[in-house]
């Protein structure tokens, strides 16, 4: 509880917390939507915001508010799949490479360096073209996760390498602790804060990349996500026609989400770093 109280002293944490709670409520509300998000012409087209249609309706005859709840939910699903799967890969690769060193390390780092130098976005576009027919939320999430781990695996590896040189590693090994137990019980606590902050950054990276792919029309545009909503708005020239309620709904949601995730990660990592924590909450 004390941790939470300290965290809430930071305005950035309060903001992020508030925004993310609203986002989660929106995503949860999608379960109560009166409309099927894939059907068109369920409501009158191009209505202005009113009591009946909170954010108005779009040119496909869909209710923008309820469509946005689905969009938030789907974008979250994609990014959570991408971020959690790539975290598992990053942790495994980083720990194995850092702990074993030698040839295993060289091969693993070679692969991750290779992933870092190829123009990632281009490869994603080509992959998206291959699987376009079978593209769904899970496939997209997995595709992003395959490319999102390389840099973080390097960071985790460097932490493990430095931990490996410390006294307590030798003590543990000499007193008969198994490798797996050593890594999980002794090293994980050190790496955890970092893994957590890379997790948040990765979520926001995945949402951004999904939006970019969707804007280029490379995902299934009938599944509402923040990206496909914006794609439809642009296709119907919504900003020329002055339908700002339509264009701005996904843009504003996305912008707030990116700020909230970034501030959350900064705030938490500042809190976890003892040097900056002292400046913030004072020595206790």
């Amino acid at each position: 509880m004390k941790v939470l109280r300290d965290l809430f002293k930071d305005y950035r944490f309060c903001f992020s917390f508030g925004v993310l709670v609203i986002i989660l409520i929106l995503a949860f509300l999608s379960n109560f939507s009166p409309y099927d998000p894939t059907l068109w012409n369920v409501v009158p087209k191009n209505m202005k915001p009113s009591a009946q249609y909170l954010l108005g309706t779009d040119s496909n005859g869909q209710d923008i508010f309820w469509q946005a709840t689905y969009a938030v939910r789907n974008s979250l699903i994609i990014s959570l799949i991408a971020a959690s799967v790539s975290r598992v890969i990053a942790v495994l690769v980083g720990m194995v490479a850092g702990y074993t060193r030698g040839n295993t390390d060289r091969i693993l780092m070679f692969i991750s360096d290779g992933l870092l130098v190829i123009p990632l976005f281009l490869i994603l576009v080509m992959l998206a073209m291959i699987v376009r027919q079978r593209m769904n939320l899970v496939v997209l999430g997995l595709m992003l996760s395959a490319f999102g781990w390389a840099w973080d695996a390097r960071v985790i590896r460097s932490i493990i390498i430095s931990l490996r040189e410390r006294e307590f590693t030798k003590t543990a090994v000499l007193s008969g602790t198994g490798t797996i137990k050593l890594v999980l019980n002794e090293y994980m606590p050190f790496a955890m804060p970092l893994i957590f902050s890379t997790l948040i950054n990765n979520i926001s990276w995945a949402i951004g990349l999904e939006m970019t792919l969707a804007l280029l029309g490379l995902v299934d545009v009938n599944v509402p996500t923040l990206g496909t909503m914006l794609n439809w708005a642009i296709t119907y020239q919504a900003m020329f026609l002055g339908r700002w309620n339509w264009v701005l709904t996904p843009v504003v949601l996305a912008v707030f989400m990116f700020i909230a995730l970034y501030w959350l990660s900064v705030s938490i990592s500042e809190y976890l770093d003892p040097r900056t924590r002292i400046q913030r909450v004072g020595a206790q």
Binding site: F110, V117, I130, I259, Y262
Partner: protein, 335 residues
């Protein structure tokens, strides 16, 4: 000698292997796409009204397959592909037939280089100067305000940011042109009017890149300077009565610049692929736009050419940074 054996040679081997890996991936992926460029070409010819007899058709298919390096098994193609690479020949583009890929790249490259070299240098310099000063005066009001602005700008994905800027400055306020690298039909000449036209058109893409780049450099630099500030030698210089301007300029920023030099070199390496989204949003006629079009149309040869350039660019930049680092930081030694 130990330097050669323990550091330089393994590093060079790694350099070559990574280029090989990257290029192999790029060789494989377009061959997995469902678009068959030869059939697409035939369909295009038919659409333009050409009627072909089946005998002539087979000949054309064979010719096209040969020309695009798609004959034989994948292994044969792979060998032929490397052979051509070493001759510096990327073949003909499929869709801008029969223009050579080298020529297309040569036309697009100056646009991208001009835009990205300028913006990278500007945002690096601006970000480091402002970030350095803000880090040194971290407790002052203006420093906190700048930090707050950077905290909002930094997390925005480039596409959203560029799109917002385009909405605001080209549609709502109509200050700048929406698309293109120069006015339609303008001929590239060395007149002031043409140069002004190009600068005018590239202002928005440049602005979006500079704002985001400056925010990133600002934040890293500020953080590093704050850490350097806490070191003993800074305290000592203060106690010894060294003037503040001298401390900031000569000691703090110079020390903090080291990691930033690495960052600059890496962003130069990114130039070849970094422009992709910028150029799509602003319809700017550079390498990124060329790359995007070639991907959409499964133009293998063109994709290969551009990606090759970008992979070699990035890996070489990283290699150069690694090898020249001891020049900047006397504490680093490779032996």
């Amino acid at each position: 000698m130990t330097f050669l054996k323990r550091y330089l040679i393994p590093r060079l081997i790694q350099y070559v292997l990574i280029i090989w890996l990257g290029i192999t991936i790029v060789f494989l992926i377009p061959r997995l796409t469902p678009n068959d460029p030869v059939m697409a070409m035939i369909t295009q010819m038919r659409a333009q009204g050409a009627t072909l007899e089946s005998g002539a058709m087979d000949g054309i298919i064979a010719d096209l397959t040969e020309m695009y390096g798609l004959g034989g098994s994948w292994l044969d193609q792979y060998w032929a592909f490397w052979g051509r690479l070493f001759r510096g020949d990327f073949g003909v583009s499929f869709f801008n037939f029969p223009t050579r890929v080298n020529k297309l790249i040569a036309t697009a490259l100056p646009w991208t280089l001009g835009l990205l070299l300028t913006t990278t240098v500007i945002s690096w310099t601006l970000g480091n100067i402002i970030g350095g000063l803000a880090g040194y005066h971290a407790r002052k009001g203006w420093s906190r305000t700048l930090d707050a602005v950077a905290m909002v700008v930094r997390p925005q994905p480039y596409y959203i940011f560029a799109f917002a800027l385009l909405l605001l400055l080209a549609w709502v306020v109509r200050l700048f042109p929406v698309t293109g690298g120069s006015s339609l039909g303008a001929r590239p000449t060395f007149t002031w009017a043409y140069i002004k036209d190009v600068l005018w058109h590239s202002f928005l893409p440049a602005l979006s890149l500079v704002i985001l780049g400056t925010a990133v450099n600002f934040q890293t630099m500020k953080l590093i300077v704050q850490n350097v500030n806490a070191e003993n030698f800074v305290q000592y210089a203060k106690l010894g009565g060294v003037t503040e301007g001298r401390i900031v300029g000569k000691y703090v920023i110079r020390n903090a610049l080291l990691p930033q030099v690495t960052g600059l070199a890496l962003s130069f390496g990114q130039i070849f692929s970094g422009a992709l989204i910028t150029e799509i949003v602003f319809s700017y006629p550079g390498l990124g736009m060329l790359l995007y079009n070639s991907v959409i149309r499964a133009d293998y040869n063109l994709i290969m050419g551009i990606t090759m350039l970008s992979i070699v660019g990035i890996t070489t930049a990283i290699l150069v940074v690694d090898l020249t680092y001891p020049l900047f930081d006397p504490r680093v030694r490779y032996y």
